[in-house]
């Protein structure tokens, strides 16, 4: 049955029908009819952010921690342009979000009206798909299709631009069940290719699973199947930044994260393996290092839902197009039916080699003296929060890499970080989105002081909605990663990479009505962290750390996996001109 209602009412109705519980947004002239509808109902909660960028990152945090679609609602013009960074972030990390933007009325489009921007034009390159709806009759269908597109195939951000007259006008609302679409991506993998991979697994002497965000995106079943596969085969497993938690950090076969700041044993295993099984990762440049020296001796299999990810930069021998959970289920079936064979002798030697690499202990550091090392701060945070129902978000930079190295994730959807786009200012609003989805959980945003200042206004949002997010700032008064690169590449000329005129973070927290804690003494750190955890309300934790600590291990730009830098002693002249042009 189609029901007649206004466009604004359709928006709320469709969100309810799609199971949406919370919308992050900011009102303005072109979305007032929708805000009026939100005012008159109780099914959907609206969270008023302080900046539209915050709304989109919060929606991302919500989506990443629940696997559901995150929804943001913003006005036309500046509201829409402020959403662009969040949309691009979600596109690069394949996060399903829906952004609803208001638009000037249809009869004013193209006249440079007040707060008019070509929103679908601007966001075409940073959404999976977008729509400008000019007829109220088509709004219901478009809303339902948007949810379908955001969550089907490789997930991603979608946007619907809704002119104000379309919101006011009455039309026929298409129900969820009436949604029409031709977009049905293939989820089952080709069985012949899966059989080929199962055969390769039987004879591999030095195999490695290289997993990514695709496992997390595929749902909890995918993570379960991955664990089963790793356990049954005994193969080692590493993961990208995006895939942390799909396989537990406490798991026996876990090598730790790989890539530019990944663990030595993980990168060496990638370089020396004879069978690489890429599951839902995309051979990103942070992972591969120098392409022509990337894992030169291996046969490569790649399971991915997106055909354009396969053979994009690395040639693979066994491409499998399909959804991770579906393919892993078939792979396990085939491999088990063939007699669960592996080369036990080869594997045993391979593990001996890996254990040798592990002895390098690439994450070791010395906490000495009266200054807190950032690694130590995270090690203590890990120890004191591990047992909690914990979700971690991060900003972008050194602290992000240290968090990935020193924190352990036992489950998927517990780690929310801006991987592909590297968006400073992501973590704080994302933590708000996570806390909205999990009100009783311990949600910690690990930040640098510079990143945190980019979206500090959202502390007001945490206060307003009583969200107990913990903002854990590793404050080195530097743009640490920029400073590190300037040290390695630009003759230690630290151009604009220090944070001057920083606020007093404790007073800043107090100005918002939140709690501020400052800690500079390693001996006082545990008590301070406990105070942060137990405080019933938002906390801004200013952890003053060593100012010139560099993040290691590191694969310098333009180098292969087996040329990692393990410490400051290795860095001199490590990056040549060819590597310097890379980012």
């Amino acid at each position: 049955m189609t029901k007649a209602m206004t466009g604004a009412k359709m928006v709320v109705q469709a969100l309810v029908d799609q199971g949406v519980e919370v919308v992050f947004g900011y009102p303005g002239g072109a979305v007032l009819p929708i805000y009026d509808e939100i005012f008159q109902q109780n099914q959907i909660k609206h969270v008023l952010v302080r900046h539209e960028q915050g709304a989109v990152h919060a929606a991302e945090g919500y989506a990443r921690s629940t696997g559901k679609v995150g929804v943001a609602l913003v006005t036309s013009g500046p509201g829409a342009t402020n959403a662009v960074t969040g949309l691009t972030d979600a596109l690069l990390d394949s996060i399903p979000i829906l952004v609803l933007t208001g638009q000037v009325p249809t009869f004013m489009i193209g006249t440079d009206a007040f707060q008019e921007a070509d929103t679908v034009g601007i966001t075409r390159a940073c959404t999976k798909h977008n729509w400008l709806v000019k007829e109220t009759d088509k709004l219901g269908q478009t809303l339902h299709e948007a949810f379908h597109v955001a969550t089907s195939g490789r997930p991603g951000p979608v946007l619907i631009d809704i002119p104000k007259d379309v919101q006011f006008a009455t039309g026929k609302y298409a129900q969820k069940t009436q949604m029409e679409t031709h977009y049905q991506p293939q989820v089952k993998g080709d069985l012949d290719a899966i059989k080929e991979l199962a055969l390769a697994m039987e004879t591999a002497k030095r195999p490695v699973f290289y997993t990514g965000g695709g496992v997390v995106n595929s749902g909890t079943a995918a993570s379960q199947l991955l664990r089963e596969l790793v356990e049954a085969t005994g193969f080692p497993i590493t993961s990208t930044l995006m895939g942390l938690g799909a396989y537990p950090a406490s798991g026996e076969n876990w090598l730790g994260m790989l890539g530019m700041h990944g663990l030595y044993e993980a990168n060496m295993a990638m370089h020396d393996c004879d069978l690489m099984i890429n599951i839902g990762a995309r051979f990103d440049d942070r992972i591969t290092g120098r392409l022509d020296a990337f894992s030169p001796k291996s046969k490569k299999a790649h399971i991915d839902i997106d055909a354009s990810s396969i053979n994009k930069v690395i040639h693979v021998d066994i491409p499998i197009l399909g959804d991770v959970a579906h393919v892993l289920e078939d792979l396990l079936k085939v491999w088990k039916a063939n007699g669960r064979k592996t080369d036990k002798e080869g594997l045993s030697k391979w593990w001996d080699q890996i254990n040798e690499w592990k002895k390098v202990d690439c994450l070791s550091f010395k906490q000495e003296g009266k200054i807190i090392k950032p690694q130590y701060a995270l090690q203590r945070l890990e120890a004191l929060t591990k047992k909690h129902d914990r979700y971690i978000t991060t900003e972008v930079g050194q602290h992000q890499m240290w968090a990935a190295q020193y924190l352990g994730f036992e489950d998927p959807n517990r780690w929310m970080t801006s991987g592909g786009l590297g968006t400073m200012g992501y973590g704080h609003p994302a933590s708000i989105g996570v806390q909205m989805a999990h009100p009783d959980a311990l949600v910690i945003n690990i930040a640098g002081e510079a990143s945190w200042l980019m979206n500090m206004q959202e502390l007001g949002t945490s206060m307003q909605y009583r969200l107990n997010t913990k903002q854990f700032i590793l404050n080195n008064e530097r743009l640490g990663m920029v400073r590190q690169w300037q040290e390695l590449l630009h003759g230690e000329r630290y151009s604009s990479s220090w944070s001057e005129s920083l606020p007093d973070f404790v007073k800043l927290a107090e100005a918002f009505g939140a709690k501020g804690i400052q800690c500079h003494d390693p001996d006082a750190l545990d008590d301070a962290i406990m105070e942060m955890i137990t405080y019933d309300g938002p906390v801004l934790f200013d952890c003053l750390v060593e100012k010139h600590e560099n993040c290691f291990p590191m694969i310098p730009s333009g180098k292969p996996h087996n040329e990692m830098l393990l410490g400051d002693a290795d860095t001199k002249g490590a990056i040549k001109a060819g590597g310097a042009v890379l980012v």
Binding site: G558, L566, D570, L582
Partner: protein, 190 residues
């Protein structure tokens, strides 16, 4: 040497060499892309080519099915086999794209382009232009005492050849449609 006794910095590679050993032969491909005829669909396709740095040698687009709201975009592009594969995969990701067919690899196909050429001249030049047009089976669609507009249909190469011949005979202006292409035989792509 690092503490791990690993040799470092031995490479002389520049960033421009950081490529996998895929084939680097540049090929020309004609793609037939069936799309939903909705506002912005052409912008999506062109934006993809511009944003990812792919070549467009020719592009034509027109509605082919009014009731089904379908348009056909014919794109002639060039790149290494890996780039061509990327182009097809990336086109396939666009939600409003229904199908992508590579006419260059999916069996024999016919390609045609239409061009209009304005040639001005007098006396022998004019006679020579008419004579060559006849050889190329170009027809005269407009004529004054000093000018002709020729219409010619054929492969892009044929049109190139005709335009080259007309140039010394007073070629003033050329309008070309770009390539339209169909596979040979009974099988259809829609």
């Amino acid at each position: 040497m690092s503490p791990l006794k690993l040799k470092k910095g031995a490479s002389s590679h520049s960033a421009y060499d950081l490529k996998t050993p895929f084939s680097d032969t540049v090929e020309r491909h004609t793609l037939a892309v069936i799309v939903e005829n909705e506002p912005g669909v052409l912008a999506r396709v062109i934006g993809l080519f511009a944003g990812r740095g792919y070549n467009i040698e020719s592009l034509t687009v027109a509605e082919i099915d009014h009731t089904g709201h379908l348009s056909r975009i014919t794109i002639v592009t060039s790149g290494t086999p890996q780039i061509i594969q990327q182009i097809k995969s990336q086109l396939g990701r666009i939600i409003t794209v229904h199908s992508v067919n590579d006419l260059t690899v999916e069996g024999p196909s016919v390609e045609r382009e239409l061009a209009l050429l304005k040639v001005t001249g007098k006396g022998d030049q004019r006679i020579e232009a008419i004579r060559l047009a006849d050889i190329f089976r170009a027809s005269v669609v407009d004529s004054t005492l000093e000018s002709f507009v020729f219409e010619i249909t054929g492969t892009p190469e044929k049109i190139d050849a005709f335009a080259d011949l007309m140039r010394p005979l007073g070629l003033q202006e050329v309008a070309r449609t770009g390539v339209a292409a169909l596979s040979r035989g009974p099988d259809a792509h829609v």
